[in-house]
Symmetry: C3
Subunit: 103 residues, 3 copies
């Protein structure tokens, strides 16, 4: 099956800032992303959790984008320009993607 | 600690089609997968969200399989044969896995 | 944008054992991790699901750590020492991470 090299960018961000981030990604030309809920975690400021809440009003979410390798820098610039203070860790990994017309 | 090369396949699919996908994966010999909830996202048809619902009746889920590299093609063939129209993006990445007897 | 090589460790574990795992990770010097809810899955003992429950009292979670490559072995030793029986699959993949001061 034909695959295409791509990058998987995983951004953990405060849930309340999700739409600002995805708006910025959209303006930067990113058409595909997926938002995953996060139950809790730990970062520079210590551990935190949603205390069993499933509301999106608190806590963090993970925004995952699969994009063409040459577009990673634009995506990251766009993300950090808008929401740098609210972003936790950002990781980028290589992947192969099927059906390139969908991304 | 001993590790083994494997592939991590991440399939984003409509939640209502999840069992058809996992049944197909099982028939193709995949014994291990994990299903993650998805809050929202954006694809070819624009952004969408679950509107705060936690029901599995709407929205998308992510099915993640860790499999031996030589089995990737069979897995993808099985997935696409059954649920091609309902699958969003599919990505495949390299990983190392511990305890090979578990997958 | 400057990036740093890192490892992404993904541990699927019974939800009730989550705090024992993250306590062990913290003692091993891991400061950053993210916990994702899991809806269901399949492993050695067959398929399982949360039956629509969103409680953390049942089912599994995924703990994702982004760490420096040289620390992977310590992390895995710490995790397995405490919770080996309760861990499902563990995968390790390469990634690049931004803002190294945050991990």
């Amino acid at each position: 099956m034909q695959t295409h090299r791509a990058k998987r960018v995983e951004i953990t961000i405060e849930a309340v800032m999700q739409s600002r981030l995805t708006d910025a990604l959209t303006k930067a030309g990113v058409t595909g992303y997926t938002v995953l809920p996060v139950l809790g975690g730990s970062g520079r400021s210590g551990p935190w959790s949603r205390s069993g809440q499933v509301s999106r009003a608190s806590g963090m979410v993970q925004v995952v984008c699969i994009i063409r390798p040459e577009r990673v820098d634009d995506l990251l610039d766009a993300a950090f320009a808008v929401v740098e203070r609210h972003i936790g860790i950002v990781s980028v990994s290589d992947c192969d993607v099927l059906r390139a017309e969908r991304f």
